[in-house]
């Protein structure tokens, strides 16, 4: 029995909000122009956590490009740098060459698995806490609140006619928004070039066109997404809300309105209780609706729009403590626990029993919740009420996710620890495959690429192994043929050389001989081999 009667009188000390969920369940139509949402500032534990996360993530984003990391005189000294021109990626002590892209691929796989893990345990924690859209909208709301005041003041200002004061407030708000957007776009380009240099170039008009274009585009998207589109980005543009439905299960924590203790809601709970009526804990103050940045009413149940930012939890917990009731009318709850408590509250009267207590399937509106079932005569929740048990996080699914996540992580760390600092690519000449020389000896040509993946220039000694009588020279060199070659490779560079290997007529074993080039760093321990073939005319096959 839901009380729908609205009344001005309230529970003492509880503010009632004239808030209507913009995206409420009943009023949803196929297409509707956006109605502006004016989220009220929330106060509480989750809001505090979100301030911290916002500070840390924004700090990482804006400041990282300015961190320095010395790598030697010939390498860039920026801690994190995507050097597209030279095809290198630098991350503190890690340097990745294009052929090591599997590190990036591995990290993307880890990010994917990590998202699965977080979603299957904590629901849409990414959406609610760490997603850039959420973080920047939060930041934009801070600005909006600073210039225009909190929810009620903003609604009033929206409705007010244009005045000097309104124009001033709006102008300042938009200027700060655009400056934040500019800083965001500006920070982005710093990841792709030396930050101090680019910063000077940028502001003196000497940077590349692409730098200005990128900053302009990112300034515009940040401004539009953070200032105007906000929750529409999550609901209509982002695919993740659609995917998450498949990732959640009955053991995942989601922000839930516990209607088993909230219903029947009534604004005059105290009076009703005094009159001997049984009412739920919800006093229908709409605090949860007022703070919601997505414009939904969490009491309608799980909804696609909900990013689980938990601000409604903060809002409701504040009200509950004022009422002297247990916190957690809106709380992180698993579907299983919720179902069990619903069973208790309804005495099973609404469950058709064919789907293991799935209340969402049966339809909440059709059941009768009896507050006396969950609250004893002493006013405390009865012992049979289930409370969130963190052990539900530990289940085969999450263990498998964790194992895969850890396995990839360990594999990447191992690959990083044993990463080669010397690599050789070898290409045998195809045209001609071999050349007959005037004394009957056979010569083969090879393109040898030495990748010196260290911060210092090195010399390498190239010798052949398994090819008796072979002598070598490099293309165009005036030096006489010898048993070994010395090739210089500059720091952090690839050195390509054409080398010729010659074997005298009487030392050739057949039309195709397998051998190997040995490459040794002079004055170091790095060495590697490259398998090769020596080709000769078929007359050498005996």
């Amino acid at each position: 029995m839901l009380t729908t009667e609205k009344s001005a009188s309230t529970e003492p000390g509880i503010e009632n909000f004239d808030a209507e969920a913009v995206n409420s369940k009943e009023k949803r139509v196929l297409y509707e122009a956006r109605k502006k949402i004016h989220p009220k500032r929330a106060v509480g534990w989750f809001r505090g956590l979100k301030w911290w996360i916002m500070g840390v993530t924004l700090g990482i984003y804006y400041l990282t490009p300015w961190l320095r990391w010395y790598r030697g005189p010939d390498a860039p000294d920026q801690a994190v740098l995507v050097d597209l021109a030279n095809r290198r990626f630098y991350f503190f002590f890690i340097e990745i060459w294009p052929h090591e892209f599997f590190f990036v691929a591995g990290m993307l796989v880890m990010a994917g698995i990590g998202l699965f893990l977080v979603t299957s345990t904590l629901g849409r924690a990414w959406c609610g806490y760490a997603c850039p859209q959420t973080v920047w909208v939060d930041l934009y709301l801070v600005v909006e609140r600073y210039f225009e005041g909190d929810r009620n003041a903003r609604i009033k200002l929206d409705a007010a006619p244009w005045s000097a004061s309104k124009i001033t407030k709006r102008t300042f708000k938009h200027i700060v928004w655009i400056l934040i957007g500019f800083a965001t776009g500006g920070a982005w380009i710093f990841y792709f070039a030396d930050t101090p240099t680019l910063a000077i170039e940028f502001f003196t008009g000497q940077a590349a066109f692409v730098a200005y274009a990128t900053v302009a585009i990112l300034t515009a998207t940040t401004y539009v997404f953070g200032g105007f589109m906000r929750e529409q980005v999550c609901t209509y543009m982002c695919p993740w809300p659609r995917i998450q439905a498949a990732m959640l299960d009955e053991h995942s924590l989601t922000v839930t309105y516990n209607d088993w203790r909230g219903e029947p809601r009534d604004r005059h709970a105290k009076r009703m209780r005094a009159a001997g009526e049984y009412v739920g804990d919800c006093v229908d103050c709409n605090a949860c609706v007022a703070v919601c940045p997505m414009g939904i009413d969490i009491r309608d149940g799980q909804q696609m729009e909900c990013i689980t930012c938990a601000l409604c939890i903060d809002a409701c917990d504040g009200v509950m403590s004022k009422l002297g009731l247990e916190k957690g009318l809106i709380a992180y709850t698993t579907l299983e626990e919720y179902g069990s408590n619903m069973q208790l509250a309804t005495g099973g009267n609404g469950d058709d029993g064919d789907d293991g207590g799935n209340w969402l399937a049966d339809g909440i509106g059709s059941v009768t919740i009896r507050p006396q079932n969950i609250r004893g005569s002493d006013g405390k929740l009865v012992d049979a009420v289930k409370h969130t048990d963190l052990r539900s996080l530990l289940r085969p699914r999450t263990i498998i996710y964790t194992a895969i996540y850890a396995a990839i992580g360990v594999a990447l760390l191992w690959a990083l620890a044993v990463r080669d600092t010397l690599k050789v690519n070898l290409l045998h000449d195809r045209n001609p495959v071999f050349t007959v020389l005037s004394d009957g000896a056979i010569r083969n040509g090879y393109e040898i690429k030495i990748l010196n993946m260290t911060g210092e220039s090195r010399s390498f000694l190239v010798t052949v192994d398994g090819l008796p009588g072979a002598t070598m020279k490099t293309s165009g060199s005036a030096a006489p043929e010898s048993r070994s070659l010395r090739i210089e490779a500059r720091a952090d560079k690839l050195q390509a050389s054409r080398i010729f290997v010659r074997v005298p007529k009487d030392r050739i074993g057949g039309s195709e001989t397998d051998f190997a080039f040995k490459i040794l760093a002079i004055g170091g321990s790095d060495q590697t081999t490259a398998a090769a073939k020596f080709e000769a005319p078929s007359i050498f096959d005996k």
Binding site: R430, L437, G476
Partner: protein
């Protein structure tokens, strides 16, 4: 036009267009404004585009557009820009001594790359895409040179060509038609062939080779040198090595002595720039058979 009363659809609250088919009425849901204005803007843009750029195809060409821009024109501008960017290096190439170019890592890399692309355009027709030649056309990868394998000699061969009637400084030499002009009897030619086989380290007839040896000394050494080691002054091939231009079987050798074939190459100095010829010389020298500069 009379001002008609707007009809409002009851269930949706949207006005109708007044169109009705079999009782079905069309609601007036106009296109979104942003879409419409983008559409109009695109039309305006296209008018400007047609005026500015070549656009409308005609029978033989198309309208030129007042900007005069064409893809072909853009390409030639870009090519010009590339050329401009290379000018300094190319001028340096043209002015530098070949050995200086070879010793300079940056210059020689540039020259070899340029030479490689010139080679593919001008040389592959005879010498093959891998420069390995074919019967009658020398393999440029090996270390057997008719006219010399140092940079200077290669440069001269490319610049002035071989046995052409265009360049006065062309490399020239002529082997007499010993058989066709009756300088040697058929039996004598046969004997010389056996001797050539002997010095080439192939199977031969010792008795005939003995006769051939004397005949060779009388008729051939002036160009092919003592012991048949060749003489690059006259482009006289080395007959004592493993590389034979026109075939090393008896019939081929006999035919070559009877009425010799002579390779011809045009003078590329006429067609290519000084820098281009130098680039080709560096490239060919770097194919593997390049020799050290002759001691002056």
């Amino acid at each position: 036009m009379s001002e008609k009363e707007k009809e409002i659809d009851e269930s949706s609250g949207i006005e109708t267009t007044g169109h009705e088919w079999d009782g079905i009425k069309e609601l007036n849901n106009p296109l979104p404004r942003w879409w419409l204005w983008t559409f109009y803007a695109a039309i305006v843009f296209s008018i400007g585009y047609i005026i500015w750029y070549p656009a409308i195809p005609l029978l033989n060409a198309s309208t030129m557009g007042i900007s005069g821009t064409t893809n072909r024109g853009i390409l030639s501008e870009q090519l010009k820009a590339v050329e401009e960017g290379r000018r300094a290096t190319v001028e340096k190439l043209a002015a530098s001594d070949l050995e200086v170019i070879r010793a300079d890592a940056e210059l020689s890399r540039f020259a070899a790359a340029g030479g490689s692309s010139l080679f593919k355009v001008y040389c592959t027709q005879c010498h093959g895409s891998g420069a390995s030649g074919s019967p009658g056309y020398p393999n440029l990868n090996d270390d057997d040179w008719l006219w010399g394998g140092d940079l200077e000699s290669i440069y001269t061969s490319i610049k002035h060509g071989i046995r052409n009637d265009v360049d006065d400084d062309t490399r020239d030499s002529l082997m007499p038609s010993f058989g066709a002009d009756g300088l040697l009897e058929a039996a004598e030619i046969k004997a010389v062939v056996e001797y050539v086989l002997q010095i080439s380290d192939l199977e031969f007839d010792p008795a005939l080779a003995q006769t051939g040896r004397q005949l060779f000394a009388d008729n051939c050494t002036s160009c092919h040198g003592e012991n048949g080691k060749g003489d690059r002054e006259f482009g006289g091939p080395n007959l004592a090595d493993s590389i034979v231009l026109y075939g090393s079987d008896r019939a081929s050798l006999r035919a070559q002595i009877n009425k010799p074939k002579h390779g011809v190459m045009p003078p590329w100095g006429d067609k290519l720039t000084e820098a281009g010829v130098k680039q080709l010389a560096i490239y060919v020298h770097g194919l593997g058979g390049g020799e050290k500069a002759k001691a002056e």
